[in-house]
């Protein structure tokens, strides 16, 4: 049994930041990097399934009924800094870590990223592929589902509860719908699930365990290793392209005070100002 978990290193910003020279992204100097919050939950879900399987295996009395060896593989697409989130994943209980990167991947949209993830999934052939519902920095909420499309696997989005016994062909899950409704779904494996926050309580990875995880290897793959060409990647392989990034103008609000006549005067002045007429 194998579960592949797609993890992303996301960035956060504080109030002061600057845009990159080309205006299409924030200057990386201002990034505070971390593991995507949703991926923390999907990773935990995978590790929990693995641990439950391991406990079941030790409890099993018949030695011949060897439980399927459970494996969790964390996969990230990103530059070298992304090793941090993979190490965190290893510290939390992932068995292997794979990072895919090449300069050509820069500028990929979720479709292009999903193509790469699908290629990794074909290589790994997991029973389940978990992704977060979305990433906290770009919020496309489409990478996981697009990956399912490339693989032509069944998929379920916004999974809030999952019952899956390793080695079985189907998983039963509950999806979160609008208005607090739940969808209970029975899905055929292999499948792609995008995991919602709150499905579990992610464990804490102590710095000591992260340090120990640093000793474990992170497998580095290039697109070529996955049979992808430059036309599959970056802007060439994307369905969309970022044109510009900007901070929206701040709106303003003002309380008009005074008696009715004074209020009307002020309002008229504001309308004239808004139309650009001289007051």
């Amino acid at each position: 049994m194998k579960i592949m978990v797609a993890v992303k290193q996301v960035v956060a910003l504080d109030e002061d930041f600057e845009f990159r020279a080309d205006g299409r992204d924030v200057d990386p100097d201002f990034f505070i990097r971390d593991l995507n919050e949703w991926d923390d939950f999907s990773l935990e879900e995978a590790v929990k399934i693995k641990e439950a399987a391991a406990n079941g295996a030790t409890a099993a009395t018949a030695p011949s009924a060897a439980a399927p060896a459970a494996e969790v593989v964390a996969v990230s697409i990103g530059p070298e800094e992304a090793d941090d989130v993979l190490r965190k994943a290893l510290a939390k209980g992932a068995d292997r870590a794979v990072r895919v990167w090449d300069e050509a991947i820069e500028g990929s949209d979720p479709i292009a990223i999903a193509r790469i993830l699908a290629a990794v999934a074909k290589r790994e052939s997991p029973d389940l592929l978990f992704a977060g519902v979305q990433s906290s920095d770009q919020s496309f909420a489409s990478t996981g589902i697009a990956t399912a499309a490339f693989l032509d696997w069944p998929h379920a989005a916004v999974v809030a509860k999952l019952d899956y016994a390793p080695g079985t062909a189907r998983a039963v899950l509950r999806r979160e719908l609008e208005g607090g409704l739940l969808h209970e779904v029975d899905i055929q494996c292999p499948a792609v699930l995008t995991i919602q926050l709150g499905i579990n309580t992610p464990r804490y990875a102590s710095l000591r365990s992260i340090k120990q995880a640093a000793a474990k290897p992170i497998e580095l793959l290039s697109p070529a290793d996955l049979g992808l060409t430059s036309s599959d990647l970056g802007e060439a392989g994307s369905a969309s392209r970022v044109r510009r990034m900007s901070v929206p103008d701040k709106g303003r609000a003002q309380l008009i005070e005074g008696d009715v006549a004074a209020q009307a005067d002020q309002l008229a002045a504001l309308i004239r100002e808004f139309k650009g007429e001289s007051v």
Partner: protein, 706 residues
Amino acid sequence: MNSNDAVTRILFEQFSAAQVRLFYALGYAAIAIFFYGVYVQVRKYRRGAALALEGGVWSRFGDMVSTVLRHRTLDRRDHAAGGAHRLIFYGFVLLFIGTSTITLQYDILQPLFGITFWHGDFYLGFSLVLDVAGVMLIAGLVYMMVRRGWLKPPKLDYARPDRDPGDPDFDRPQYRREDWAFLWILIVIGGTGYLLEAARLVWLEARPDVWDTRWWSPVGALIAEALRGLGLSAHGGGTLRMGLWWLHGLLALAFIALIPFTKVKHVFTSMGSLMARDPLAAQRLPRIPESQATPGVTKITDFNWKQLLSLDACTKCGRCHEACPARAVGAPLSPRDVILSLREFAKSTLEYGPVPEAAELDVHGKSVGQVTQETLWSCRTCMACVEICPVAVEHVPIIVQMRRKLVEEGAMDPLLTKTLQTIHKTGNSFGESKRKRAAWTKALPFPVKDARKEPVDVLWFVGDYASFDPRNQKVTQTFATLLHEAGVDFGILFEGESNAGNDVRRVGEEGLYEVLATANIAALGTAKFNTLVTTDPHSYNTIRNEYPDFGGKYPIVHYTSFVKQLFAEGKLKVTTPLSYRTTFHDPCHLGRYNKGYEAPRDVLKLLGCELVEMGRNRANSFCCGAGGGRIWIPDPVGTEKPAQNRIQEAAAIAGLDVYVVSCPKDLTMFEDALKTTGNEGKFVVKELIELIREAIPARRTEAVTA
């Protein structure tokens, strides 16, 4: 001068050879049981982890002897008990020496070399001394009985805050029974000693060597007179003497045999614990040895031998129980009960038979002898327990080492988990980006030097709270302005500074602490400076006491000492003396941890303030509740917080104007507590820095335009 050989201690007179043999057999048996008990106890300690003590054995021995003889630690905060213990201790020691010298002559020197000294003046002098010693012993014991039976100080109540009534180990009645048995056996041994002495005098009243020198044993002589008055004959005295002799002797032998198995063993274990004392036990926490597979303490055998020994040194005196701020506000923690639980655990698992399987050695949990997570997370690592313990039990490292295991498992409050992740990500507990660390300098009308880029005389380690908390930033800006006006050449590390890690380490996240300490040491390594000054007592402690273990040795002072020096050098001058009635709260990490009691008080007096001490001050200062990472864990709703308890103490001072603090976390904690206790408007909480500013108003040209 009396050099009459006949004036001597009557030992086995009128005993048959068989009786003497019986007594010796019993004596050897008692000693054998004693040594077997010692073996069992020593083996128990040796089943703990290894530890090499720093420093020489003899200096440790000398310190221990001095502490024991002066009863220095026993007198503190309980003079009556300390005094009574002193009577018992010296009485017991003298009686022990007296009995030993009899053995020395009778069993060793006389048979081997024919040397005798127990006669004449020496005997008479000694019998007087021992009679007085007996009175001391009994007087001390009587007071202790009165204390336990009638005074009943709350600290001697064994009811536990971390267990519920009905739990098998809720109030441990076996301890009470043992306490009373201990007092009674000693008092009966003492009492029968006097009666025996009196009976012997009556029995030998016809013998002038005995009778004429009787007043050298004044208590015995008095009782003898009384017994004679009641009609006791010499023959009756002889019979009584024989009976009492055996009773007294058997009780004494039983007492010796029981020492290693009962609370009596504290006479040895407390000396051992005092000898192994680490003067920086809480200030400098132990590193995790490279060889250790799992961090912290999981099994009882993960504690080192010294810790296991100190568990047995505890005398349940309750001083730590009384001092603990968590216990005071009803949290499920008493340092005493942590120690006693672990002691019971060690006793049940490590005293007899082979060491059990690892699973049976787990000290974490809710069973008898185990310590719960709630208990461990209640600790503020304020060091009040370690500081007051008369027998050098070091609770804080024990609790933190147990927490390390919980952190490794993630068994902690979700908000604490979040904070640790935030600190790892951003280097501060506020989750702000590193580059915002020095944002507070932007409001200043003068530039603050970047110590990484140019040499400075004074490098100021600002710390998290002072850098990011908006209320504290004002204080930080004021301090910078004061330094500027005093002409101090100072700088800061800007984004090179990270959380110092003091509290992260006390939470038990050792790996993160190492990351932070290493990062700060690297940043400090890029700066050229003469002195390190900090406004944060927590940073002060870890940089002063713990960074040296990571290769960072710096001359560091807390700002209170630094400012005092600026006043002494005339660089700061009070122009507008203040006339506030103030009280000062000693921050744990400045006061108890590093004995910085006087500098802030001296500065307050320099400013012209009246200082009224709270009952709990200096070494007995009451923690604000923020230490040990507790500032990141919410206190349970509906319970009193330590800071509120403290503010109420200050509110009892009539006419108080200002509650003075000198720690950023204190400012946050106590301003909050002032509001939540409804004391707002009665007095204010201020940083000492703010009072200094008031006493030295900025000249108009240099006024800060914030």
